[in-house]
Amino acid sequence: MDPSRKRAIRLTVALTAALLLASALIYTSFTAGRDELTAGQLLRLARPGRSYLLAGTVLNGSIRRQGDVTWFRVRDPKLSVSVPVRYTGIVPDPFAAGRGVVVAVQERAPGSPTFVGEQNSLTTKCPSKYQAASGAAS
């Protein structure tokens, strides 16, 4: 076969493979990804039985332990609202008031103000990293 034709075929195959991989990546990320909501969005959008990822900062003075249950409130970084969470499972060491967290939650019962955290779903953002500017709302 003509070498230039051979190269063209190889390039086409490689580009097609890359395109397929990229398409799969994009498709699965949209279908496998879970909604990550702030406290304000969760209060507006939460539907009973559906699971959401709640992201925000732990409200100062809101952490309470009772046996293996941890109660805390997650604050919306932009709005002055927070939602209470009842959580069981691993509490990572960096978990503390004022720290960024992500936790998978469901509404406890229709209309209930408390959200139930899925077991072992609590993750905490690394404490040594981002620092907001002083006075910034975070």
Partner: protein
């Protein structure tokens, strides 16, 4: 000393400005004395930032709380060892560390190349000084490590307890060394593209620095994983956290680059690819710093809350636009000298391995930034968890492991069936035998991907062993040396090649540890009282007795556990939950309970072995103490208000310490149920061993060759350079 530090930062900025001007002026006019002066500016920058760094370290060692950064990140009770490491736990200190390390590495490369790459070096100097100017500006105007307060607090907030771990002493400097080293090939690539000197010259002078960047970043990543495993109390070592991903992306790209430059050096191919890879690596290194410093991953809008987001974004945009523009404008000069002869050749395998590594980096990039992308597209953030990452990274990692065995053995240009048989018959037999033994003797069949990886790792190890054996045997026969002597001499004389083989072996071993520990791990999350037991795989963990230790800095409530296998005690584990005082409270707030409500930390009980790790972490809930804590808080709040003399204060502190101690001792005297996370993981130790083997291989490959070998290499380089010059008509 703080004013001296601030002055040094300003001086550093002026040095950067002068150096950039001198380098560019020298390069544009051909007045090399100006270019030399620009190079010396880098040495001056290294000196100035070294003094600034020493001032900052001295402030931490002296506990000089007039420095804001010292007051926020250290205390008089912080051990000296950690005071030295405390500067990089802060944003301000991290930025200064960046500039300092970068100035040192830049000085080293510019000193080593002072008589080479005459045309490229001034532009590289300007780029390096541009980076230094950027980070010095951030440290000067946005996050100044030498900022002070008019009234210094009597005591500092202390270092985050989570960072009180030996690997934190090494992990950040390793990562930052890796990031800063990766800007060096980037800078020289920019220089090569501007000057149009796109042969192997710039690769030859920066290859060792690319390898050093790979090594340092790799060590940093493994140390971070180790810290996570032993310190964070969840028992894992990798969570696809954006901070981890930030280091992994440039590491994957530089790994691809280290391999693909061999093709350019040998065959003059992949010039566009190599230039693009090294530019992408440099951009990803800056992006990594941006990710962890800007807060952008909190939200697409959050970087506005950080003072650093905007400047970083501008720098990255400039780097991307400049890199793309330069590569596109030089595409004619970057044309390959040869084409791929066969898909069954080392070039093809290296190219495929490069594509897979870049695909891996892209998948990680996409997953990391997907929350922002989805927020921008749909208005709602979507998060991708470990299962999504595993879906892509596991198959790609399997291909990388396979190719790391094939690549070093397959022939250049075109492999013949005889060559393939000779190279791969034995390793394939070893891989097949491994798979059969594992299928028959273990339950590996229930995890086909893990089984495949074990077989592929055996294949890689067999490939490496075969190469070492054949090389040592041949050398032994020629030189009349004993096999061990011949092996050492073989590695000594061709460090790049055999160091690389060792890296491949190390990575294969590391992946065996990852596959085994993630596929065959047993976990039990349970609540136990003393005397109660929990089953974890084939082991039984028993909570024997509680332990208490009250120190000035922390209160430790722990547990001693016995581990039994088939009724026989095989191990004793000690784990504890350490409570640090809450330093954010005012003097009258919670005078007693503050000692229990600060940052907690888990001391993991770990018994690491070659076949399995036993891991235990306890979390002692404080609920049973709550009413006593509240009562004592009220009591001591009243006592605090009545303090009028120093004598009374001393008596108060004594009484407070007695009460805190007695409250803590309740855990030992009347223990209640505590939460335990118990894990038995096979072969975790091999992750660290694999990391050490890979690092040793990297170090061997990095180490300068003996004089004779270097002379041969230089001769080959000269001949290639002559050929390139002749071809370009220069």
């Amino acid at each position: 000393m703080a004013p001296a530090g601030r002055t040094l930062l300003i001086v550093a900025l002026f040095i950067c400005g002068y150096g950039i001007f001198a380098s560019l002026y020298g390069a544009r006019t051909g007045r090399w004395e100006w270019a030399d002066s620009g190079r010396r500016a880098v040495y001056a920058l290294a000196l100035v930032t070294t003094i600034a760094w020493v001032i900052l370290e001295a402030a931490f060692l002296r506990s000089d709380f007039s420095f804001n950064v010292v007051a926020a990140h250290s205390s008089t009770t912080t051990p000296t060892f950690y005071k030295l490491a405390a500067p990089w736990s802060s944003q301000e200190g991290s930025l200064l560390l960046w500039v300092w390390l970068m100035s040192l590495w830049s000085s080293l490369i510019l000193f080593l190349t002072r008589a080479r790459v005459r045309e490229i070096a001034p532009y590289a100097t300007a780029v390096l000084l541009g980076f230094a100017a950027f980070f010095t500006s951030l440290a000067t105007f946005f996050a100044n490590p030498f900022a002070t307060s008019a009234t210094a607090p009597a005591e500092g907030a202390g270092l985050d307890p989570l960072l009180l771990h030996p690997s934190m002493m090494i992990h950040p400097p390793m990562l930052y060394s890796g990031y800063t080293l990766m800007t060096i090939p980037f800078a020289f690539a920019i220089g090569a593209l501007i000057t149009g000197r796109l042969g192997s010259e710039w690769i030859s002078v920066t290859r060792r620095f690319a390898l050093a960047g790979w090594l340092f970043l790799g060590i940093g990543i493994v140390l971070g994983a180790r810290w996570s495993y032993t310190e964070l109390g969840w028992g894992g070592y990798w969570a696809w956290d954006p901070v981890e991903n930030a280091a992994l992306m440039p590491w994957l790209c530089i790994t691809a680059f280290i391999h693909s430059i061999m093709i350019q050096e040998k065959r003059g191919m992949l010039k566009v690819w190599n230039a693009s890879l090294v530019l992408a690596t440099g951009i990803l290194a800056i992006l990594g710093t941006f990710l962890v410093r800007s807060g952008i991953l909190d939200s697409i809008h959050a970087f506005g809350a950080s003072t650093l987001g905007g400047p970083f974004l501008a720098l990255i945009a400039l780097m991307v636009a400049g890199s793309v523009g330069l590569v596109v404008s030089r595409r004619a000069d970057l044309r390959s000298e040869h084409h791929l002869d066969s898909l069954l050749s080392r070039e093809a395998v290296f190219l495929l391995q490069n594509l897979v590594l870049v695909a891996l980096a892209f998948a990680v990039f996409w997953g990391t930034f997907f929350p922002l992308i989805s927020e921008a597209v749909t208005g709602t953030k979507h998060s991708l968890g470990p299962p999504w990452y595993d879906r892509y990274t596991v198959p790609l990692a399997l291909i990388v492991v396979l190719l790391s065995g094939v690549g070093p053995l397959i022939a250049w240009r075109r492999a013949t069936p005889a060559n393939l048989r000779r190279a791969f018959a034995a390793p394939l037999a070893v891989a097949a035998a491994t798979a059969v033994v594992l299928l028959v003797a273990t339950d590996a069949a229930r995890r086909p991907l893990a089984l495949t990886l074990f077989a592929l790792a055996a294949f890689v190890l067999a490939c490496v062993a075969q190469e070492l054996w054949r090389g040592a045997r041949a050398r032994g026969a020629i030189a009349g040396e004993a096999l061990p002597v011949a092996l050492v001499a073989l590695v000594r004389r061709n460090r790049r090649r055999y160091g690389g083989y060792l890296v491949h072996a190390g990575i294969a071993v590391l992946f065996v540890g990852v596959a085994a520990s993630s596929s065959f791990q047993h976990v039990n999350q349970t609540s136990l009282r003393p005397g109660q037991t929990a089953r974890v795989g084939s082991y039984t963990f028993r909570f024997d007795r509680p332990t208490v230790a009250v120190q000035a800095q922390k209160i430790s409530l722990g547990a001693v556990m016995s581990v039994f296998e088939h009724g026989r005690r095989v191990q004793t584990l000690r784990t504890a939950r350490e409570f640090y005082p809450d330093t954010t409270l005012g003097p009258f707030q919670a005078p007693i309970s503050r000692f229990f409500t600060g940052e907690p930390e888990t001391q993991v009980g770990l018994n690491a072995g070659l076949t399995r790790d036993m891991w235990a972490a306890v979390d002692v809930p404080l609920t049973p103490l709550q009413s006593a804590l509240d009562f004592r808080d009220r009591q001591f709040q009243m006592a605090l208000r009545e303090l009028t003399t120093k004598r009374r204060l001393a008596a108060y502190i004594q009484a407070r310490d007695v009460v805190v101690d007695s409250l803590a001792q309740r855990w030992a005297q009347h223990p209640w149920a505590a939460d335990f996370r118990l894990i038995v993981s096979p072969l975790v130790t091999w992750i660290w061993i694999g990391g050490i083997i890979a690092a040793a291989g990297g170090l061997i490959a990095l180490w300068p060759a003996p004089v004779a070998a270097r002379r041969r290499a230089t001769a080959a380089y000269r001949s290639r350079l002559g050929r390139e010059l002749a071809e370009s008509g220069a």
